[in-house]
C-alpha cells in the first residue's frame, strides 16, 4: 500500500523530472521538493499563523490557568471565550509529523531511483508506470547519474558538509516558523509557557536529529532536506514580513484613534508580535498605555 500510493508515484515523478531536466538528478529532487512544499504549504502557513496567534494570547492564557488551576472545566470555558484551543499547541510539530510519511517515501524513492545495486535497479523497472515508460523510454535513462560535484548521491557525504547544512538550515527554518521567545518578569528568563518550552526544544532537537541522520543517509536525501529547509526559510521570511505589515497597519489605525482622542477598545489595540524587536515595541506600548491610564486616574 505504501509502495503503491507513496513510493511509486514519487519514483515516477522523479524519473519524469530527471528526463525533463537534462538528466540531472539533483534538479529532479529540487523540483519534486518544490512540488511537495507547495502541496503542504497551506498546512505550514496555517501552523505558523496559529503559533504566532497563540503567542499573542499567552498573557491571557496564563492568567486563566492561574485563576482556574483547580477548575479544569471552567478553565476550558474561559479558553473558549478568548478563542484558545489547547490542542493547537501541538501544531508546532504537526507539519513535520505529516511530512514524515512523505519524507520516508521520498527517501525510499531516491534509493530506488538511484538503483545503486543491480537488484535495486531491477526492482525499479517494476515500479515504472507504462505511460511514463512510453513517454521517456526509461530503459535508456537508467540508472540515473550518481555523481554531483564531490558527492556520490547514493552514499553519505564523506566531508560532513551536507550534515552541517542540514542542521543549519533546519535550525534557521525552525526559528523563523516559530513564535519569538517571550521573556517573563523572571530574572533568569525561565519560560513558564509549556508551548514555548516545547517549541524551544523542537528548535534544537529536530535539527540535531536530522543532522545526525544526514551523517549516514545517502547524500541525495540530504540534498532534499537542505532544499526543503531553504524553501521553508523563504516561506518563513515572507510570512513574517506579511504579518509585520499587518501589524504596522493595525498600529497606524491605533495611532489615528489616539490623536482624535477617541479611546480604542482594548481588543482593537492588541498587536501580534512577529519578531523579537516587535515584541519589545509591543511591550513598550502597553507600558505607556498603563501609565496613561494611571495618570488619568
Amino acid at each position: 500500500m505504501f509502495d503503491t500510493f507513496i513510493i511509486n508515484p514519487m519514483a515516477n515523478a522523479l524519473l519524469l523530472f530527471y528526463d525533463l531536466l537534462f538528466n540531472n538528478f539533483v534538479l529532479a529532487i529540487a523540483v519534486l521538493t518544490i512540488v511537495i512544499r507547495l502541496v503542504t504549504l497551506p498546512l505550514n502557513l496555517r501552523q505558523q499563523k496559529s503559533s504566532l496567534k497563540m503567542q499573542s494570547m499567552q498573557p491571557q492564557i496564563q492568567a486563566i490557568q492561574k485563576k482556574y488551576k483547580d477548575n479544569p472545566s471552567k478553565m476550558q470555558e474561559e479558553f473558549k471565550k478568548i478563542g484558545y484551543n489547547p490542542t493547537e499547541s501541538l501544531t508546532g510539530c504537526l507539519p513535520l509529523l505529516i511530512q514524515f510519511p512523505i519524507l520516508i517515501g521520498l527517501y525510499r524513492s531516491i534509493i530506488v531511483i538511484l538503483g545503486s545495486t543491480p537488484l535495486a535497479l531491477f526492482e525499479l523497472t517494476g515500479r515504472v508506470y507504462d505511460w511514463v515508460d512510453g513517454l521517456i523510454d526509461v530503459a535508456t535513462i537508467l540508472p540515473v547519474a550518481n555523481k554531483f560535484l564531490w558527492l556520490n548521491l547514493g552514499l553519505p557525504d564523506p566531508y560532513y558538509i551536507l550534515p552541517v547544512l542540514v542542521f543549519a538550515t533546519m535550525f534557521i527554518q525552525q526559528r523563523l516558523m516559530s513564535p519569538a521567545k517571550k521573556k517573563t518578569d523572571d530574572k533568569k528568563g525561565k519560560q513558564d509557557s509549556p508551548m514555548a518550552g516545547m517549541t524551544q526544544s523542537m528548535q534544537y532537537t529536530m535539527p540535531l536529529m536530522f543532522g545526525f541522520f544526514s551523517l549516514s543517509f545517502p547524500s541525495g536525501l540530504s540534498i532534499y532536506f537542505i532544499l526543503s529547509n531553504l524553501i521553508g526559510i523563504g516561506q518563513g521570511y515572507i510570512t513574517r514580513a506579511n504579518m509585520a505589515k499587518e501589524e504596522a497597519l493595525a498600529n497606524e489605525k491605533s495611532d489615528i484613534g489616539k490623536t482624535t482622542g477617541i479611546p480604542e477598545p482594548e481588543k482593537a489595540t492588541k498587536q501580534i508580535p512577529s519578531t523579537s524587536s516587535d515584541s519589545e515595541s509591543y511591550r513598550t506600548k502597553r507600558q505607556s498605555k498603563r501609565k496613561r491610564r494611571s495618570a488619568k486616574r
Partner: protein, 398 residues
C-alpha cells in the same frame, strides 16, 4: 543569530527538561542510524568456477564448494561480520583468489565506506590466507563487478565509476586507474594487451592494459551492465537500449546491431558462429555472429536478468519470475534449449528467481538463488535437468 552559534552556552541555559529532550533525541538518532552506515547487501550472489569448485559470494562470506565431491572446501572470512559483505563473483586462477567487498562502514562519524580488494591464497586450511589487501582509501564505493586476474595484474571495476589496475605481486599496489561516467558492474575482458571495460555510462572502453590509456570508446544508447564478450575480430556487448552491439576490436566501430524487445541485461553467449542473448521480457534470441541476422526467437514471458550460457549445442537460460508478478511471489526456472533451433529440451523450476549467471562444472550446470535469505546452490545434470545436489552453505550470514 550570533547567540545561536554559541552552542555550549545555549545548551547550559536551557531548562533541564529541554536538555533531556535533546539528549534523548541524540540517542534516538544514534539508535535509528545504527551507529553508522549500514551497507545493505540487497543483491543476488556472485558465482564463478575453477575446476570442480564453485565459488560463491553472498552476504558476509565467500565460500568454495567442491561440486563433484559435494562438500564445502572453505569459507572466508573465518569470522564473518554483518557490516562487511561480498557480492562480486570471485576471480580464481589456480590457488589465487581475488575478491572485492561491498564496503565496511566507518561508524557514524566516518560516513564514508571502506572498500577492499583482497588477494587470497587457497591451501589445505578451511580458511584461505590473505596475501594482500588494496589500499584503504583507494576505492570509494562497493565492488559489484567480478575482478579479473591477468598474470600479476588484477583489474577491478567499481561502483565509484573507476577501473583499477593493481599489482598482485606488490601487495595490491595501484598501477593505474581510469574513470568512466558511471558504475562498472561487468567484469572487464582481456585479450592481447587490451582491456575491454563496459560501464553503466553506456560505453565500452578499450584500454591499454599496461598503462590504462584509452584506445577507443564505443557508445550505445543504454547502460551496459555485464561484461563484453570477444570472438574473432568482434566485441559483443548487450545494452539497455534493447540491442546487442557487435563492434570492431581495433576501432570500436559498430559493425552490426541486433534488436530485442526490452533491455538486455546479461552478456551474450556464442558458439558455432551464432550469438545468443535474452532480454528483460523473457525473449531469447539467436543471431548470426557475422551479420546479426535473426536465426530464431523464443518467448518465455518471464524476467531474464542472468546471461544465457551455452555448452555443446545446448543453451541454458535462467528466469527470474513471470512478468507482472508481485516480487514476493516470483519463482524461477532453468531452461535448456537446442541452440540450433531454440526447441525446449527440459525445464526445471526453482522456488526463487535466478539472477546469477549459471556456471558449468564437468557435465553439470550450477545455479544459485536465495530462499528466505538462505543461499542455495543447486547442481543440475546438463543432459536431462535432474537435480543432482542442493547445497546450503553453513557459515553464510547477512
Amino acid at each position: 543569530m550570533t547567540r545561536c552559534l554559541d552552542g555550549g552556552k545555549l545548551f547550559r541555559t536551557l531548562r533541564p527538561v529541554n536538555r533531556s529532550a535533546i539528549f534523548l533525541f541524540i540517542v534516538a538518532s544514534l539508535f535509528i542510524t545504527g551507529c553508522g552506515v549500514s551497507v545493505a547487501n540487497t543483491n543476488w550472489p556472485g558465482l564463478s568456477a575453477s575446476g570442480d569448485v564453485a565459488y560463491v559470494a553472498f552476504g558476509s562470506s565467500v565460500i568454495a564448494v567442491d561440486v563433484v565431491n559435494q562438500e564445502q572446501v572453505w569459507s572466508f572470512p573465518a569470522e564473518p561480520q554483518a557490516n562487511r559483505q561480498f557480492y562480486a563473483a570471485p576471480s580464481v586462477v589456480e590457488r589465487d583468489v581475488v575478491i572485492g567487498d561491498y564496503g565496511q562502514s566507518g561508524g557514524i562519524f566516518s560516513p564514508g565506506i571502506k572498500v577492499s580488494v583482497l588477494g587470497l591464497e587457497q591451501g589445505e586450511s578451511s580458511v584461505p590466507s590473505v596475501v594482500w589487501t588494496s589500499a584503504e582509501s583507494l576505492i570509494k564505493d562497493r565492488i559489484i563487478a567480478p575482478p579479473l586476474q591477468v598474470g600479476s595484474q588484477v583489474f577491478v571495476g567499481t561502483a565509484d565509476n573507476y577501473i583499477y589496475a593493481l599489482d598482485a605481486s606488490n601487495n595490491g599496489a595501484l598501477q593505474w586507474q581510469f574513470e568512466t561516467g558511471h558504475s562498472i558492474w561487468g567484469q572487464p575482458t582481456y585479450e592481447d594487451g587490451i582491456l575491454y571495460v563496459s560501464s553503466l555510462d553506456k560505453s565500452l572502453y578499450a584500454l591499454d592494459a599496461e598503462t590504462g590509456d584509452k584506445l577507443w570508446e564505443s557508445t550505445t544508447g543504454g547502460s551496459i551492465s555485464d561484461r563484453a564478450k570477444l570472438d574473432g575480430d568482434l566485441v559483443y556487448i548487450s545494452s539497455f537500449d534493447r540491442m546487442i552491439h557487435a563492434v570492431e576490436k581495433d576501432s570500436g566501430d559498430v559493425r552490426w546491431t541486433a534488436d530485442s524487445e526490452a533491455a538486455v541485461w546479461g552478456a551474450p553467449a556464442f558458439e558455432d558462429d551464432a550469438v545468443y542473448y535474452g532480454d528483460l521480457n523473457g525473449n531469447v534470441f539467436a543471431v548470426d555472429a557475422e551479420t546479426g541476422s535473426e536465426l530464431w526467437t523464443k518467448r518465455f514471458d518471464s524476467y531474464m536478468v542472468a546471461a544465457p550460457v551455452i555448452k555443446d549445442g545446448v543453451l541454458f537460460a535462467s528466469t527470474a519470475g513471470l512478468l507482472e508478478t508481485e516480487p514476493a511471489l516470483r519463482t524461477g526456472s532453468l531452461i535448456a534449449l537446442d541452440a540450433a533451433t531454440g526447441d525446449e529440451l527440459w525445464r526445471e523450476a526453482t522456488p526463487s528467481p535466478i539472477f546469477t549467471t549459471p556456471i558449468f562444472i564437468q557435465d553439470t550446470v550450477v545455479v544459485t538463488y536465495i530462499v528466505n535469505n538462505i543461499l542455495n546452490l543447486v547442481v543440475f545434470d546438463t543432459a536431462d535437468g535432474s537435480d543432482l545436489w542442493t547445497f546450503q552453505p553453513t557459515t553464510v550470514t547477512e
